[in-house]
Symmetry: C2
Subunit: 167 residues, 2 copies
């Protein structure tokens, strides 16, 4: 006879802490990127540069917003689990957690990577010195998104371990 | 009494097919990116542009090479599983599969995203028209890496479902 399958449970409060940390990282990343502006003087007057002027940063902010919304929902589920001991939405939601965590963590990883990829090469271009502060702040936002991704990846490992509990 | 945990098994040959598809995508992506060059005429003579000149493409190629090496190893394991019915390395290797697949799929996702992020914004720059063919070919390589990532993500789902089998 095959040995019984092994299941490991992660304490609910550990899951909650990881969700909260994910949310905090994404929130700070969001605030950093939307407040990041740079004004440069040209022959035609002052030009204000914002995150909107770069595809990569627009993608970063999209991933951060989707990530925050999802993490907020999961935080509510986790609070309910910690306080009542019952998983909101029933046991069948383990599948939702599993696929949701997988998708969101991949999404956040690509958001951070797209921004890093763009910023690193943009820094090499001529005349990018003026933009240096703007690019460094953007990199800080991408780093926070990367940190948020790492916490989301931990959540994804937890929800994979919880997978056999589904009904 | 709690209901027994649910386990789902993926047929070994399905796992093998997904590994082979991952490897093919990464191999083509690798060949496309290393053979992609562009020669541009400047006042100082011809300048040859290669993937090495961009951080994002160097990162892409690093992820693709690591991804290929890992996928090749996993393909060997899968072939052994399909032909002999035994998992090479023993049952304990389910944990290796789980974390390995997770890491490699995240790694490939960031490789593709970094290249896309950089290419999209580079295309907006003045004078990038000359580079257009080079950038489009690079985007094709990144797309193949993205496709490889999608197959790797499927492998990661399979290895998560196999997790309760570990001993």
């Amino acid at each position: 006879m095959a040995p019984p399958p092994i299941t490991t449970s992660v304490p609910p409060f550990v899951g909650l802490i990881v969700r909260v940390l994910t949310f905090i990282c994404l929130l700070i990343s969001f605030l950093v990127i939307v407040t990041n502006t740079h004004t440069t003087s040209t022959d035609y007057g002052d030009v204000k540069i914002k995150f909107k002027d770069f595809y990569a940063y627009r993608y970063l902010i999209a991933t951060v917003i989707v990530g925050m919304a999802y993490t907020l929902l999961q935080t509510a589920f986790s609070i309910s689990l910690v306080t009542t001991g019952n998983r909101l939405g029933g046991e069948g939601f383990y599948l939702f957690d599993f696929y949701g965590d997988k998708f969101i963590s991949y999404f956040l990883a690509t958001g951070a990577a797209a921004s890093f990829g763009m910023t690193q090469d943009l820094k090499q271009l001529e005349g990018s010195d003026q933009l240096s502060k703007f690019l460094n702040t953007s990199n800080a936002a991408a780093s926070l998104c990367l940190l948020g991704f790492l916490f989301a990846a931990v959540s994804s490992v937890f929800s994979s371990y919880n997978l056999p509990k589904r009904t």
